[in-house]
């Protein structure tokens, strides 16, 4: 039975945005701090640190997770995705990111990374959501700039494009 000592650093191995990754972590290290400080991936933002604001939302094994409510040691053997892994290449945005840009779905951008990760997972299981469902999912994130309308519009637009229903670009 593996027992990780509180005071030692432990080698945590997992898949990060499709590539093998490892980070040294004490058991108490939060996943947010492992990503940002240990691995330099500062796209995952830290807001409230108790699971309320949603800014740190990432995907673990394809489902959304608050990184601030996840221990780095819980990454062991898992498939982890962060906002850095969304764009298909350094010079191209994903369909969802492009829709956010087109609809002005971010102002300060602090909440955006978390929302993109939630919605990315949501649209994979729910390709044709209605506005009510989108509002429920986006409601798991605090955005103090946009009033959410542009975010909802961007999500519905991205969903239509991903379904191949054309777009209103």
């Amino acid at each position: 039975m593996p027992r990780l000592s509180a005071t030692a650093l432990h080698d945590v191995r997992f898949t990060l945005n499709g590539r093998p990754a490892r980070v040294a972590a004490e058991p108490r290290l939060l996943a947010t701090d492992a990503l940002r400080h240990g691995l330099g991936l500062t796209g995952t933002h830290v807001g409230c640190e108790h699971g309320v604001c949603g800014a740190c939302t990432i995907l673990i094994d394809g489902v959304p997770a608050r990184a601030c409510l996840t221990l780095a040691v819980q990454f062991e053997g898992r498939d982890v995705r962060t906002v850095e892994g969304l764009a298909p290449s350094p010079d191209r945005l994903s369909v969802l990111q492009e829709a956010f840009r087109r609809h002005h779905a971010l102002h300060c951008g602090f909440c955006t990374a978390g929302i993109l990760m939630s919605v990315d997972a949501f649209l994979k299981t729910t390709p044709d959501p209605d506005e009510h469902l989108v509002r429920e999912v986006v409601g798991g994130h605090l955005c103090r700039c946009t009033g959410y309308s542009a975010i909802v519009a961007a999500v519905l637009d991205a969903a239509a494009i991903l379904r191949g229903d054309g777009s209103n670009v």
Binding site: H50, V63, L71, E136, G140
Partner: protein
């Protein structure tokens, strides 16, 4: 806002998890989805010396039907129960689970974890009490089953002993001739409920359970009442819950919600029954 230091045990068998709990007593805590425990750790409201991770135990990951009960073991995430075929057998669960936290926390948080946390406004404890469910506890030496009404003993306190873990919770399936309804009031969808109500209506009886008012979910049974007789029964229940003022709502608003939402869930269940 960072947890205090703890050892982290990845249990590979149930016996290992129970052994760790037995040897550390109140200094060890089980971690499953972590959606209630991690905020407590981050805010240092809890400072366990050891965390026991049980998510590597395959036996705790499968929902099963046992006769007239849906048995949900400790490793089942809330989103997995919501998406399961078994949930169709209990409409109250299907109605209440979408209100449990957010899409982003249901994907990680477990059903049993919510029962263990025992927040007075939480939906899982409410459903367990409303349906007369049970909590299955286990130590290294023995297993026992506790009725939900006896399990929740106070605000965030339960009948679980320090060396026990919740192995599963069991929700009774819908009784023939009964209909169920659920509503809750919160400032935003996904917030903690200020008041939640769950009703079961049968030809000769009404069960109404309420969370968010008393320290634990409370259930009352009435005969089939209507009109002012139902108002009187709901009013008596609302006052008996000993509501208190807090940051989120006044005691008076909570009593009003028990009366109004209590009637609304009963009427909704009655319409389903008709």
């Amino acid at each position: 806002m960072k947890p205090a230091a703890f050892d982290f045990v990845r249990a590979e068998t149930l016996e290992e998890a129970l052994e760790t709990l037995a040897s550390h007593g109140g200094d060890a805590r089980v971690i499953a989805g972590g959606q209630s425990l991690l905020p407590m750790l981050n805010m240092r409201l809890a400072k366990p010396a050891v965390l026991v991770d049980i998510m590597g135990l395959p036996a705790l990951r499968a929902i099963r039907r046992e006769g007239d009960a849906i048995v949900v073991p400790a490793g089942v995430r809330q989103a997995e129960l919501l998406a399961s075929a078994e949930i169709a057998a209990q409409p109250l669960l299907a109605a209440a689970l979408p209100f449990l936290g957010h899409y982003q926390t249901r994907s990680r948080g477990t059903v049993c974890g919510s029962a263990a946390h025992a927040d007075p406004s939480a939906e899982i404890p409410l459903c367990l009490v409303a349906l007369g469910g049970e909590v299955r506890l286990r130590t290294r030496r023995k297993a026992r089953r506790v009725k939900a009404a006896d399990f929740f003993t106070g605000m965030m306190t339960t009948a679980k002993a320090d060396d026990e873990m919740i192995e599963a919770v069991a929700f009774p399936v819908a009784q023939p001739g009964s209909a169920y309804a659920f509503k809750e009031y919160s400032r935003r969808h996904g917030d903690f409920a200020i008041v939640g109500c769950a009703a079961r209506v049968a030809s000769d009886a009404i069960d109404l359970a309420v969370c968010g008012v008393a320290d634990t979910p409370e259930r009352r049974s009435f005969p089939r009442l209507a009109g002012s007789a139902l108002d009187d029964a709901l009013n008596a229940f609302a006052w008996a819950l000993d509501a208190r003022d807090d940051l989120h709502a006044s005691a008076r608003l909570r009593r009003d919600l028990v009366r109004a939402m209590g009637r609304a869930v009963i009427e909704e269940a009655e319409r389903c029954l008709a």
